[in-house]
Symmetry: C3
Subunit: 268 residues, 3 copies
C-alpha cells in the first residue's frame, strides 16, 4: 500500500476537490499493462499515484507475484489525487482491447460509486472496482532482500524458445548460471526427452556471474512467457534455490514490470 | 410468397420450356448473401424471380426475421422462369465458401429432382433443396406497419463496438433516440458494469429524431453484428417498445438485407 | 530394413568410428517431411542412409502407408554410417517446428543412448528414439505389384477442392478414370447431396488412361490432403477396386513422398 495516497474507500476521498483520477492513455500501452498482470491472476491492486499507475498482485498459491508501473510519461494527460483500489483484470482487459491500436483510452474515476468510467471514441464503459482489502497482497521481500547470486540480461526471444521447448518435455525447468563456463542456462528433464539452452556471456546483453540454480514450475513461467513482448530485453536475477525475478520495460520505457517466482524444492 | 412466380414444387414447373434457374455470380456476392441470412437460422425460403434472388426466414423463436435481395446486377448471367423453394443455409454456405474470392459460381436448378447444381471451376455439387412449405415464414408486418418514431443512419463500426461492449456486461441492450439531445444511443446495464454509446447527429450519416427506446436480446443483435461487413452504412428504424429494423446494402449496392428484431418486454 | 546399414540397436553401432548420424538441414524441409508422415500416424521407421533420410509407416488399421525420402540434396551437411531406428512423429514435429523458416536444424545421433540430439540456434533437445521392432511395418506390395490401370498427374489444388467438397456430403469418395471420356474423376454420394469433379486430359498435367474406379475412406484422404502443399503436382495411380498411390515431390525436388491407400469394398 502506498502510505502517502488516500484510499478511495476512505471518507477522505469523497471530500477531495477534484476527480480522484482522470487520464488519457494510448491503447497499446494500457492493453500491454493489463495483459502482463492478467497473465497470472484475475484481480489485482490498482494504485493511481503521482508517478503513474501501479498494479500488483500475487497468484492464489502465492508462488508468483507481479509489480507493474505505467509511468506518467505513457499518458497523454494524467491527474490524480492518489487512489488505492482493486480491479478485475479480465473485465478491464476486455474493455481496453476494444480500442484499436493507436486509439486513445480515457479514464475517469468516480470515487463516490467506486466505479471507473472508461471512454473509447464515444463508447462509455462503467467498470465496478473491487475493495482492495479483499485482494491478496504480494508478500514482503525478506528484510535483507533475496540472496541473488547473479544477474542475466537476455533477449525475450531466447527465453521464449527455452520455455516452450521445456514445456514439451516436463512441467518444471531449472534456471541457472554456470560460473565456470560464464553462461546462463535453462534445463528441463522429462521422462523421455530433455531440453537445454546455454547462452554464454557473449550471447547475452549482460551477465553478472555467481553460481545459481533453481527449479521453477512451468505453469508460471509459461504464463509469464506468453504475455512477454518478443522484442523485450529481460533482466533475470537468480540464486541457489532462491526465487527468480524477471523484469523488463515496455511502452517505450514508460512502463516496467517485475515478476517474482518462488522456486520448487529441487533435488539437484 | 411471390404470387406471380410458379412454384417449382408444382406440376407447372416441370412443363416449363427452359431450365427454371441458371445463373453465374461472383463468389464474394453469393458468399456474403448466404452468410447474412445464415447468421440467424439454418433454413430459409429461396425465391428466384425476374428482379433477382431473394432469401427470407425467421428464427425458431420468431424474434428475428430477415429479408435479403441479391439483384440481377450482382450476376454475370441470370435467367429464371420464377421459382420458390427452400434451402439449407449451412450446406449452401459450405459449398459457396469453396470458391476463392473473385471466382465464379454457377447455379443450375433441375426442378424435376428438386436439386440445385452448383459448379465451381470443374467441381459439381448437387444440393438437395427443401420443401418451402416446411420452412417458417416471416410474420406479416402489422397492417399499418410498425410505429417507428425515428431513423438512424450509422457506421457499422460504431454499432459493432457498442454491441460487443454490451455483450460483456449483459444479455440485452437498449437502442434508442434521445429527441432532446438529438442523439442515437445504445445502452446495456449489467450486474456490476454498464455500457453506453451516444452518437449525436453530427457523428451520424443521418438522423430523423423522435423519442425511441426499446430493449433487445443480445443473442440476436450479436449474430446480426458478426455477419455485418465493417464498412457498411446501416439504417436503423426505432420506436418505443417496438421492433427495430436494421438494413444495409452489400455487393456494391446490388444486394440489400433487412433484419427485423422484436423487442423484449422492458421495465424502462 | 536397409540390409547394408548397421542397426543402432545392435552392438556394432557402438563400435562405429564416427557418430552414426550428423546432419544440418533447412527448417522448412524437415518440418514438411515430418508433417507429411505425421498426417497418418504417430510413430514411424526412420532410416538414415547414404542417399538420405527415409521415413516409413502404416496406420493402425493398415489402410494407409507412407514412404518418404528426404535426399542428401536437402541437407547443408549430411554424414551417416547407416541407421535404422524409430521416432515419435508428434514430438519430433513439435521440436522442428520451434525453428523459424530459413533457420538451420542440426541433428546428432548418439547411438549409445538411442537418443537424437536436435540443435536449433543454441537450444538443444534430446529426443528419445524408439525401438524399430515395436513399430508397424508397411506391408509388402504384392509380388507382381498392384494392378494399376491408369495414372493421373494433377494439381494438388484440384484434388484438395474435391476432397473437401466430398467431406461435406459423405465419409467415402470414389477416385476413377473414365477411359471413354479421357478424364480423371472424383465422386462422392451422400444421403442428400452429391459431389463430383471431372478433369479431362487437357486440364491435367498428364493422363494415362485405363478404366479405373475404387472407393476410399475420406478419413485417410482428408488427412493426406491437409498435409499436402497446395502447389504440389500429384501423381495418382489407380485401378479397379485397387489401392491408390498418391505421390509428389517437395523441398524443391529433394524430397518425395508416396502414400498407398487401400480401397473400401465398393458396390459400384
Amino acid at each position: 500500500m502506498s502510505e502517502s495516497a488516500p484510499d478511495t474507500n476512505s471518507s477522505d476521498a469523497a471530500d477531495a476537490p477534484t476527480r480522484p483520477f482522470r487520464a488519457i492513455v494510448d491503447a497499446d500501452a494500457i492493453q500491454m499493462a493489463v495483459e502482463l498482470v492478467d497473465a497470472l491472476f484475475d484481480e489485482c491492486h490498482l494504485r493511481l499515484e503521482a508517478e503513474g499507475l501501479r498494479m500488483a498482485g500475487v497468484d492464489p498459491a502465492t508462488v508468483a507475484s507481479v509489480e507493474l508501473t505505467l509511468g506518467r510519461a505513457a499518458f497523454e494527460s494524467y491527474e490524480t489525487t492518489g487512489v488505492h483500489t482493486g480491479v478485475d483484470l479480465s473485465r478491464l482487459g476486455d474493455v481496453v482491447q476494444m480500442a484499436d491500436s493507436g486509439q486513445l483510452v480515457e479514464f475517469d474515476l468516480a470515487s463516490e460509486t467506486r466505479t471507473l468510467e472508461i471512454h473509447i471514441d464515444g463508447l462509455e464503459y462503467t467498470l465496478a472496482l473491487l475493495d482492495p482489502e479483499t485482494i491478496r497482497r504480494p508478500p514482503d521481500s525478506p528484510s535483507g532482500g533475496f540472496d541473488f547470486a547473479g544477474e542475466v540480461v537476455a533477449d525475450a526471444d531466447d527465453f521464449d524458445r527455452a520455455v516452450r521447448a521445456a514445456d514439451m518435455v516436463s512441467n518444471h525447468l531449472a534456471l541457472g548460471i554456470d560460473d565456470d563456463e560464464d553462461a546462463f542456462y535453462v534445463e528441463a528433464t522429462g521422462d523421455t526427452d530433455d531440453v537445454s539452452l546455454a547462452l554464454p556471456a557473449e550471447d547475452l546483453a549482460d551477465l553478472t556471474t555467481g553460481e545459481a540454480h533453481s527449479l521453477f514450475s512451468l505453469d508460471y513461467l509459461t504464463a509469464i512467457d506468453r504475455a512477454m513482448p518478443t522484442d523485450a530485453e529481460i533482466r533475470l536475477r537468480l540464486g541457489i534455490e532462491q526465487p527468480a525475478t524477471i523484469a523488463y520495460e515496455f511502452a517505450d520505457g514508460a512502463g516496467s514490470v517485475e515478476y517474482v517466482v518462488a522456486p520448487r524444492i529441487s533435488s539437484h
